[in-house]
């Protein structure tokens, strides 16, 4: 079982609560434990807010989220000028500073944060967090009732050779 969400969003402030709510709804429906959902919501929000702060281009950015039985993997992809957060957020911001806490929060709330930045291609923020499920969640139901994984004809070379030639329509 795997759920994938893929969003292309306008680079504006409203996009941040929109993407956060879409992901929260998905995790609520599947049965992710609420405290885990809250951590992911906040890390995602910080990653999207970074896109708005570190790019000026009037363009879209992308968010993809994959949820399976074990973990949630999110990528926030910004085609802007690039931004390297890999050395940021490693200690507390000054108490009087009004910014500089977003990356620190991301690092504290999820299991893995990675920044990939290329001047020409923009920035990818990669977030991973292990999931905990509510008792009686849909995921638990599916995991318990799922048959042994089988290779479909499309993923097994041997079977593929034996498959009939596609017929022209």
């Amino acid at each position: 079982m795997e759920i994938k969400l893929s969003l292309a969003l306008p680079r504006d402030e409203l996009s941040v609560p929109v993407v956060r709510r879409l992901l929260k709804q998905s995790m609520d429906v599947l049965g992710v434990e609420p405290d885990v959902t809250a951590d992911i919501e906040l890390a995602l929000t910080e990653a999207c807010t970074n896109v708005l702060e570190h790019s000026q281009e009037d363009d879209e950015y992308e968010v993809s989220a994959g949820i399976d039985g074990d973990q949630c993997v999110i990528e926030v992809i910004d085609r802007g000028s690039g931004f390297d957060g890999s050395l940021l957020g490693l200690e507390h911001a000054d108490g009087a500073a009004e910014g500089g806490r977003g990356i620190q929060l991301m690092r504290a709330l999820v299991d893995r944060v990675e920044f990939t930045s290329r001047p020409s291609a923009g920035t990818v923020v990669h977030l991973e967090k292990a999931l905990v499920w509510r008792e009686g969640s849909i995921i638990q139901h599916w995991t318990e009732t799922a048959p042994e994984p089988q290779h479909g004809p499309w993923s097994d070379d041997e079977t593929l050779k034996d498959a009939p030639e596609p017929t022209q329509a």
Partner: protein, 117 residues
């Protein structure tokens, strides 16, 4: 995507306090509204603020920045900004960022209004 704000005055032996009741989500979309509210209060001479965050459902680093900005503004007038919060999910955000050492955080509005230290 909503932020609700209301203000009221309360008095205690400590003096007059303005209680700002915040509800909903504080993020990059709604934070400007909270920032304006705090600036308006300080501009109108209200330097002792209690921000009641019990109705806050979501808070991010942009919201933290607005609260720090408010604290700096009231302190410039010898004022105070106290928070009321008992929600573990919100308190955790203050702890991670070290801001529990910057803001006095109270468990009720009454306690915050009466506080003098």
């Amino acid at each position: 995507m909503d932020l609700s704000l209301s203000t009221r005055s309360e008095s205690s032996p400590a003096g007059d306090r303005t209680v700002v009741v915040v509800g909903g989500e504080i993020d990059v979309y709604t934070a400007p509204k909270l920032r304006e509210q705090l600036i308006d209060l300080v501009s109108s001479g209200q330097y002792h603020l209690v921000v009641d965050m019990e109705g806050v459902e979501f808070l991010d680093s942009t919201g933290l920045g607005v609260l720090v900005g408010g604290l700096k503004r009231v302190r410039a007038h010898e004022g105070s900004l106290r928070l009321v919060c008992t929600q573990e999910r919100i308190l955790k955000i203050f702890r991670i960022t070290g801001l529990t050492k910057v803001f006095p955080i109270h468990s009720s509005v009454d306690e915050a209004v009466a506080a003098t230290d």
